[in-house]
Amino acid sequence: MFDRIDPRSPIPLYSQIANAVRGAVAAGELRAGDGLPSVRALAAELRVNPATVVQAYRELETEMLIDMRQGAGTFVREVPPERHTAERRREFRQRVRQLLDDAARLGLTATDVAEILRDETTRGRS
């Protein structure tokens, strides 16, 4: 679940960790009540600063995605299904934005992009 953490990426490590949890919850890999690794264990496993893990967990707690219970551990909260859909859309939108940046760099117009997207989605179905 945290395999994609990349210290060389410009995205701060804490965001990467938080995104990994968001993704796993959206994809149903993590369900309500499931435990997350302790700050200590995850920091040692990923070899990141414990403060980074704390920052990621705090962000997820503010979003009401997880619950940090003093002494007991960190758990995934009950999340309404609409939110999963919203989360999946949000993640996909982020990737599309990166693609559009690339397209702009290559000098492609919005029409070009839409055309390619249509081509590829129909090809995928056949």
Binding site: P7, P10, A43, A44, E45, L46, R47, V48, P50, T52
Partner: protein, 301 residues
């Protein structure tokens, strides 16, 4: 902000034409501070000054609030130090070495942690120190430093020359301790990639002088490679620092800049050149460019 280590104008002649000069370190309490520098840049000598093993000829040093060297003895018991050259007694066994060390720290000594680390590191109690491999000796030094429950860990190239598996074990043990005890870690290394994910502060030493000290995220955010078309020879009013310029194919130049932020794209609207692309750098690339720029400045003097 309080600082676990603070130096002001630290100086010391180390050899012919080589000295520590005006070294100012500010290591925030609770941070993991990466002390970066090429081999021979003066990292070990700086650390030896902090530990009172080398006398500074100029400036002042505070470690955990204690003035070095006068008040150092009172602070030393709260500092875990793993030197570059390990000091262990060859004739003792692992168990004897641990016992010897624990006596010096009395009440602070965490026997439980020591034993847990010994098992985790797979060190046999009856092995003679002289029979330990380099990796095992490194692990034993780390065990001794962590089991004394330090408020400050000073690690001088703790993973240099160790294989990847041992490096991981050693770093994981340090992070586990930090998560548990909230200590400050001052870690020197020339292995930049290793510190990238761990540190929240970096200080860069080059030729005996500090060339940068800032939070890791600021350092990483501000370092970019810009691709610029029809660049002028002089850039008197650029809002960022150009560390290096390289010509690539055609009329496009690549600039490595420091202190970048996205709003600076506007600067190019008023300039005669055109910004084509902004590319992220990792810490290692940034570090190399920073040192190159510092050396060019030095030669230009």
């Amino acid at each position: 902000m309080s600082y676990a280590i603070e130096t002001r104008g630290l100086g010391r002649v180390l050899g012919k034409g080589f000295e520590l000069r005006d070294v100012n370190l500010n290591v925030p309490t609770g941070s993991i501070y990466g002390f970066l520098g090429a081999n021979g840049s003066g990292k070990t000598s700086t650390i030896r000054c902090l530990m009172g093993l080398l006398k500074a000829s100029a400036g002042s040093i505070r470690v955990l609030g204690a003035e070095v060297p006068q008040q150092l003895p009172s602070a030393l018991v709260r500092v875990g130090y793993v030197p570059e050259k390990l000091h262990l007694f060859e004739k003792l066994t692992v168990e004897e070495m641990i016992r010897f060390h624990s006596v010096a720290f009395e009440a602070r000594w965490d026997a439980e942690r020591g034993e847990a680390l010994r098992r985790e590191f797979r060190l046999r109690p009856d092995t003679k120190i002289q029979r330990l491999s380099k990796g095992e000796a490194g692990k034993l030094m780390m065990l001794l430093a962590l089991a004394q429950r330090p408020e400050l860990l000073i690690l001088d190239e703790p993973t240099d020359g160790l294989d990847p598996v041992v490096r991981r074990d050693v770093l994981s043990a340090v992070l586990d301790y930090v998560a548990d005890a909230g200590a400050t870690v001052f870690i020197s290394s020339h292995l930049v990639f290793e510190l990238e994910r761990i540190c929240d502060w970096v200080g860069v030493l080059d030729a005996g002088t500090i060339v940068a000290e800032l939070p890791m995220q600021v350092f990483k955010d501000g370092l970019k490679r810009l691709r610029v078309a029809s660049a002028p020879a002089q850039l008197p009013d650029a809002p960022f620092v150009v560390l290096g310029r390289h010509t690539t194919l055609g009329s496009v130049e690549e600039w490595v800049v420091r202190g970048w932020n996205p709003s600076m794209q506007q600067w190019f609207d008023g300039a005669s050149c055109e910004l084509r692309d902004v590319i992220d750098l990792d810490l290692e690339e940034g570090f190399v460019e920073l040192l190159r720029a510092a050396r060019r400045r030095e030669e230009g003097r």
